[in-house]
């Protein structure tokens, strides 16, 4: 378990403010945020590589804030992999073994296991310079995991890879975390990765934690316009609420639930809106009549803009669904939104 309490860091103009985080044992936790929000700094602080101004970091209830990095049991995998260029793949992986109080046979067993899981038996004698990005990433993972760290920190391990390799590495990452029984803390800015890999996540912005919670909770129930925009909730409208009605300019929507009177925003995920030619009345769906004003073709899906009065809704649809409906710009259609898709904050 990692517990970060009131952490403050000041590092040459850049700072982290009042970071509080709790990560359960053997959890896969994801840290998200825009470039420069302080994600890597937080990882390096947990690893003991940069000095902490105030606050505490504890692992398994032991305060490690002032312990040198080599005694923390916290592994780190960088985006650029940071393989030792003068050592072969095998030597890289075994680098940390002399510092572990384990028998040679145990080390060899661990090596064999990792080679198997990561499928790197054919590159053991190569030097890092001769490896592809994906291979380097696997070696860096093996090197970090062979010493059985209590926690493994991963700094955007997938973003330097070509898109086609990412899926493969994602699968490997998940398998590794499950088989190693290690707490993983990973930085990413890709929500797909977070969904696939993690249970819980935190969104960080300008050195502060904007929200923590289950990944799907962040995705469905952001607490601020920043997080809402960050998770791609493209329909974010300032709104006022009376009873179970939301008022967006000249548009009144019955959202089916009473809203706290402090809420000032109504938000709907673009894929939570369905388009139909006639209003759907089952399942509590709420129909709004509008006309299609724009299509954006993104290959697999369409981003559709629909005007309802003066409000423009963004809808995400699979291309085939739309083509099957035979609608075009200007078509009069109905937007169907189930009550659970309305989010207010």
């Amino acid at each position: 378990m990692i517990r970060v309490t009131d952490l403050n860091i000041n590092l040459g103009g850049f700072q982290l403010c009042d970071i509080n985080l709790t990560i359960a044992e053997n959890e896969f936790f994801v840290l998200m945020g825009p470039t420069g929000s302080g994600k890597t700094v937080l990882l390096e602080a947990i690893a003991g590589l940069i000095p902490v101004k105030t606050g505490n970091i504890s692992v398994d209830k032991k305060n490690i804030t002032r312990i040198p990095p080599e005694k923390r049991g916290v592994g780190i995998v960088y985006q650029d992999q940071a393989l030792f260029p003068h050592l072969t793949v095998k030597e890289n992986i075994l680098y940390g073994i002399p510092y572990q109080k384990i028998k040679k046979s145990v080390a060899e067993k661990r090596l064999d296991d990792l080679i198997g899981i990561l499928n790197i038996s054919h590159i053991l004698d190569r030097f890092p310079v001769n490896l592809s990005g994906g291979e380097k990433q696997r070696v860096a993972m093996a090197r970090a995991l062979i010493v059985h760290p209590k926690i493994l920190l991963l700094d955007e391990p997938l973003s330097a890879l070509d898109p086609n390799f990412r899926k493969e590495m994602k699968t490997a990452l998940k398998a590794l975390q499950q088989s190693s029984m290690t707490t993983f803390l990973m930085v990413t800015h890709d929500f797909g990765e977070a969904f696939y890999l993690a249970d819980n996540a935190a969104v960080i912005n300008q050195g502060r934690i904007a929200q923590t919670g289950r990944v799907d909770d962040l995705f469905q129930h952001p607490v601020s316009p920043f997080v809402a925009e960050f998770v791609g909730m493209e329909n974010i409208f300032p709104a006022s609420f009376i009873g179970n009605k939301a008022i967006l300019g000249d548009l009144e929507i019955d959202i089916g639930i009473n809203v706290r009177h402090t809420s000032t925003y109504l938000a709907i995920r673009p894929e939570d809106i369905q388009i139909s030619k006639t209003p759907i009345l089952e399942n509590g769906y709420h129909g709004l009549k509008g006309s299609i004003s724009d299509f954006i073709d993104s290959g697999i899906y369409f981003n559709v803009s629909v005007n309802v009065g003066t409000v423009i809704f963004q809808i995400l649809m699979l291309k085939n669904t739309l083509l099957d409906m035979g609608i075009t710009t200007g078509s009069e259609i109905y937007l169907n939104i189930r009550p659970a898709a309305f989010h207010t904050f």
């Binding site: 690893a47 080599e70 940390g96």
Partner: protein, 261 residues
């Protein structure tokens, strides 16, 4: 098309002029003495002794630069702090101090009327006219070359490699020897040789502190002043040969950037 650009011809002409300017005198000097004369010179015990002394003193100076300069270079490569520029400036100072002034400055603290000189005298260490003095002068002129070269070498080793090493359980010492040193040893060798080459070429500072025992540049000067150009050239050829061997070693080390480093 590219080759017809006037820009290109200007650069090429300047290049050729500079190459000729550097090479012509050196080649001419190397070619001037006859073989029998070169042979006779190398059999001259005074010449051999002076060249040997030059190599030993310059080597010792470089060794001390290595011992003291390596930790400092590492410190400067890894830390950013107020006053870092000042320290770097002080390290570079010896490069711009006129050579005879270096000798005079060192004698200024080595005299018996200075506290440091007194201590040295009581310890039985002589600076003026001694091998020790020569080595002190050569450390002074060679140190900046060593520290700067090795600092660059350490800077090229990503701190992330050290971070990973430590997160795998290695102490700072262990990390230094297993990672940093292994990746930067080449620049340490280059720095050593550069400090030595700089030391072996020094004349003005040494001639102030110690005319005797005679290092090779002083010997060349004496031959020139006493017997003229023709008699100084063979000694110069032998000394330059030593320098060129050092220089080529550096170049070959710099050239070989193998895949593994």
């Amino acid at each position: 098309m590219k080759k017809k650009d006037p820009f290109f011809w200007v650069t090429i002409s300047c290049g050729i002029i500079i190459m000729a300017f550097i090479l012509l005198p050196l080649v001419e000097m190397m070619a001037a003495p006859s073989l029998p004369m070169l042979k006779k010179t190398i059999c001259d015990k005074d010449v051999v002794r002076s060249i040997r002394l030059s190599i030993i003193t310059a080597g010792s100076a470089a060794l001390i630069s290595f011992l003291l300069g390596t930790p400092l270079a590492y410190f400067l490569a890894r830390n950013h702090f107020r006053g870092k520029r000042l320290i770097e400036s002080i390290i570079d100072l010896p490069i711009v101090i006129p050579h005879p002034v270096v000798g005079i400055a060192i004698l200024s603290v080595a005299g018996k009327n200075h506290w440091l000189g007194k201590i040295l005298h009581e310890l039985g260490i002589r600076i003026m006219g001694s091998v020790t003095g020569i080595i002190v002068v050569l450390i002074f002129v060679g140190m900046p070359f060593y520290v700067n070269c090795v600092k660059d070498g350490f800077e090229r080793v990503s701190p992330r490699l050290e971070n990973v090493s430590r997160s795998l359980g290695a102490s700072m010492f262990s990390t230094f020897f297993r990672v940093t040193f292994r990746l930067a040893w080449r620049s340490m060798v280059i720095g050593f040789i550069m400090a030595m080459a700089r030391a072996i070429s020094e004349f003005g500072a040494v001639v102030i502190v110690a005319y005797h025992p005679m290092i090779a540049p002083v010997m060349i000067y004496e031959r020139f002043a006493g017997f003229g150009l023709k008699y100084s050239q063979p000694v110069a050829v032998w000394l330059v040969s030593v320098c060129l061997i050092l220089f080529l070693t550096v170049r070959i080390l710099t050239l070989r950037k193998p895949a593994t480093s």
